[in-house]
Each structure stands twice: as C-alpha cells, then as structure tokens.
Amino acid sequence: MFKLQNECENIIINEDYLELEVDVDGHLDLNITNKKSCNVFVKIKKARSIYVSIEVMENTQCTYLIYNDNNAPLITNELYKVKKGAILNLAACDINQQKCKRHIKVDLIEEFAVCNFKSAVLCNDEMHYQIAINSCYANTTGMMENYGVVLENGKYYMDATGKIDKGAHGSKSHQASHALCFAHKQQATILPQLLIDENDVEASHATTVGSIDDNQLFYMQSRGLSAKEAGALLTLGYLSFIKDIIPNSQLQEYLDQEIESKVNSIC
C-alpha cells in the first residue's frame, strides 16, 4: 500500500491493483509510465483538501476508483490529462455523510484519447460536483454517467459539462445523469451542458430527477419489505455498479460490504 505524499510522481506499480490511502491534505501526482494498463484504488480517509494531477500516457489504459470514506468535509481539485490512444476509466464513489465539493477536469489532449467517467453518490449533506470532460483534439471520446441518491438532509448539485473544442472533429461527448430522491423536500440539481465548437461530432445528454416510483415501492412492499428496507435495496441497486469498476474480486467484495453497510446505516 502506498501512502499519499506531497508531490509523489512516477509511482511504479507492480501489483494487480494499487491502493492509495489518503490520510493527509496534499497533492497526488501520478504518471504511470511502465504499464500498458493499471488499476488504482484511491481511498480518501482523512483529508480536507486534495489536489489530484494524473496523466494517462500514450496507448495505455488506466482505471481509477476514488472512494471517499472521509470523516470530514472534503474539497478536491482534480485534473486528468489523457494522451494519444489512451483510455482513462475514472470513477468517483461518495457515500459518506459529509459535505463534499469536487472539481474534476479531464482533458483529452491527443487523438483517440478516451475518458469513461462514472459516479455513485449517496447524498445526505451538501454535495457539489463540477465535472468537465474536454475534447481538446480530434477523434476523442468523453462519456459520463452519474448516479445520485439524495436522502433526507441531502443537497445534490451536479454540473456536468461535455466540451468539444474547435478542430476536435470526429469527437464524441455523451452524458447521462440521474438523481433519485426519497422525498419531495430534498434538493437535487443537475446541470447538463454540452459546449460544442465543431461540426463533425456526436454529442448527447440525458437527465432524470425524480422520487421513488410509488408502484415500484408497492411491488417491493407487497413482498414483505418495509418502505425503509425497499428504499435501501433500491439505493443499493442504484449505486452498487461502482464496485465493479476495478476487476478484482477481493476489492469488489470489500466495496460491496462497505456500500451495503453504509446504505443500511443511512437509509
């Protein structure tokens, strides 16, 4: 296990997946150079402010799962640069009961760079996300999927931007964001934006914000689940896809248990 250090650079990974436990404020700088593909699990345990700077090198594939298990409010500034032919699979999992403000910027800086971004958020406080995937070069692909479950004290704000710069022809920018609220008084705001400066491109956005479907709830209750149990099961169904981002059964089992216990304790 690697501990976060200020200005760590060029960390060499020799394992199935690398686990980084963040327990101080600071910078996380990673340029993985000696691997064609790598998986990194970043667990934020104790920090208030983190700066992330990651480059995905030419023709490599990197998967990052950033799991916020912080016991205090957190602010992050994250910058990812994806080079030629590289694939960045980036996932954010925030299921703790703390304020959170994340600013995530992904620049697809060379041809055929790809970013697949996914987020799973269980929101019981103010959670503010600003996520932008920028196609800065031709034939790049930015995909975004966001899922948020908003509980009684939650305020979920998702500003999701897909940007295609002038000259980035043949690029794709697609995004879908969904928020599930447990009651009418909860706040969920999704701001899907497509900023397109080129003609020969593909772009789309989809957004849903809604409360639990009464008929779904009735169906589950009719099998003996209380409203609370049904809500917890629906929440797990909504968020637990995030555990499969890194294909390692031990990590998946760990995340499965973590998510289930957090959901059951909060919902």
């Binding site: 169906y219 009719s222 209380s226």
Partner: protein
C-alpha cells in the same frame, strides 16, 4: 384456519367509485375464480386487498384471520400471509432477482435465511418452473419477456409460501406449454400448503388446470353471480351477454381516450 373476509367493500379511485359493495369469504384450501368483463373492478379488488395506496376504501371491511387488513401497511399484509401476483409485474433496475427474494425472506423471519438453503430452494423452484437459470442474477423483471415475468411472480409465490394468494391474470402472456407449467406450479404449492386462492382469469383452460372450488362474476363493482366450475364453463362458452339479460344490467362501455403526450424539449441553449 386462514379466512379472508370482505364485507360491503366500497373502493374509489380519484373520487370515482369502482367497487360498490363486495362481500366475499375465502377459507383455507378454497380456490375462488373471479371473472367478469374488463374494467369492472377485478384488479381493483385484488390491489385493494394488498393495499395499493391508489385505491381508497370508502366503506366496508377486510379481515384476515380476524385481523383488520385495512389497518395494516402493505408489508404487514405480506407478512400476515397475503400475496399478490401482479398482472403487470414492475421492473426494478439494479436489484437482482435473488437479492430481492432473499431480502423478502429475511424481512419475514427473525434470523437471516441461510444462503445455502436459499440458493437450493431457489434453484429447485427455477427448475420446476423451467425458467432460465441466469434469471436469479438478472435485475428484477428488467428485460424479462411477458411470460418470464409471470413465471417470476409464481417463483416468488413459491418461495414466500403465502396463506392466501391473489393471482391477477397470471396466465396472460403465457404460451400453452408455459401455461401448463405455471398452473402445475400453483397447484402443487396449493396442495402442499393448503393456501387459499383468488384467481382472476378470462380463460377456462387455465381454470381447468387450477380447478376452482368457487366462481364469482364481478360486474360494475358488484359480485352479481356465484357458482362453481359450471359457471366458468358457461361464461367461456357464452360470454357475458346472457348475464346482462338475465340480471338486466347494462354493460360498462370502455372509453379509450388517449392522454395528451408531451414529447418534451431539449434544454440546450441553441443561441442565435
């Protein structure tokens, strides 16, 4: 002995009265066929017994083993032994069939059900219903064919073992072979547990397999005739016209007004 007793039940949806005074008693080991033209209140009755919040009971009572069902929440009704196999089972994305069923079983027992026992029981029932083995791991009813959804309802019923099951057109969407499999699965559970059944279907073929002990015809929110298997056969042969004439009832004319559908609009700022 489990007894469901419905007395003078009046039910409304959006201030429109649908059920206009139903009296019915179903005892353990009895199989009641509930027939009637579409749109006359059969599904409303079953959904009301199960406690769907859309249906408002304005008058009357429902008791199960002497307990006031109308005071129970939906999950309490299920735990008391009632089960509704739905005409249109809901799709629940993200929740697997097996997780759902295990949660439902755990919700009604003090100790969590052993995983080994659960898997064994589920596999046995899946095989009996000739369902695809991967169905347990797929999201609840999502992407299921009409027939698969109906079999899945019966799978849940067999796992939960209710004292009284309400089957709402469980035969619709099933081919001839599937109908036989589902009917056998219902019948075998009924023989094993002696559960009571209220079965809504339009087809004698299904009732032939289920073998109802009682039959009722529900028209315009009221039970207008009671009988046995012979009543099912007569309706299958002659329809409902003879009943309308005999009882001097006017059939309800179904109005099929299409609601206005908004196609929505894209929120993107197109600029000028």
């Amino acid at each position: 002995m489990s007894i469901l007793k419905i007395e003078n039940l009046h039910v409304a949806i959006d201030d429109k009265e649908i059920l206009k005074g139903i009296d019915l008693e179903i005892k353990e080991n009895e199989i009641h066929a509930l027939m009637g033209p579409n749109g006359n209140g059969k599904s409303t009755l079953l959904q009301t017994i199960m406690g769907h919040p859309k249906y408002i009971v304005t008058q009357g009572s429902i008791t199960f083993d002497g307990n006031d069902v109308l005071k129970m929440t939906v999950d309490e009704r299920s735990k008391a032994g009632l089960f509704l196999a739905m005409q249109y089972p809901l799709e629940i994305p993200g929740v697997t069939n097996s997780d759902f069923l295990r949660a439902a079983l755990n919700a009604r027992s003090e100790k969590p059900v052993s995983l080994f026992k659960f898997i064994k029981e589920m596999e046995k029932n899946i095989a009996e219903l000739q369902m695809k083995p991967d169905l347990a791991h797929r999201f609840l009813n999502e992407g299921f064919s009409g027939g698969e959804k109906k079999r899945n309802e019966i799978l849940q019923m067999r796992m939960l073992k209710p004292s009284l099951a309400l089957l709402d057109e469980i035969d619709s969407g099933l081919d001839v072979d599937a109908l036989k499999i589902v009917a056998n699965a219902i019948r075998s559970l009924q023989e094993e547990t002696k559960m009571g059944l209220i079965v809504v279907s339009h087809y004698e073929r299904f009732y032939d397999s289920i073998k109802p002990t009682h039959a009722h015809v529900l028209i315009d929110g009221k039970i207008v005739m009671n009988g046995g298997q012979e009543l099912v056969a007569k309706i299958d042969n002659e329809g409902y016209d003879w009943l309308y004439k005999q009882l001097n009832i006017k059939p309800i004319v179904q109005t099929n007004i299409q609601p206005t559908i908004s196609l929505g609009s894209c929120g993107a700022n197109r600029g000028k």
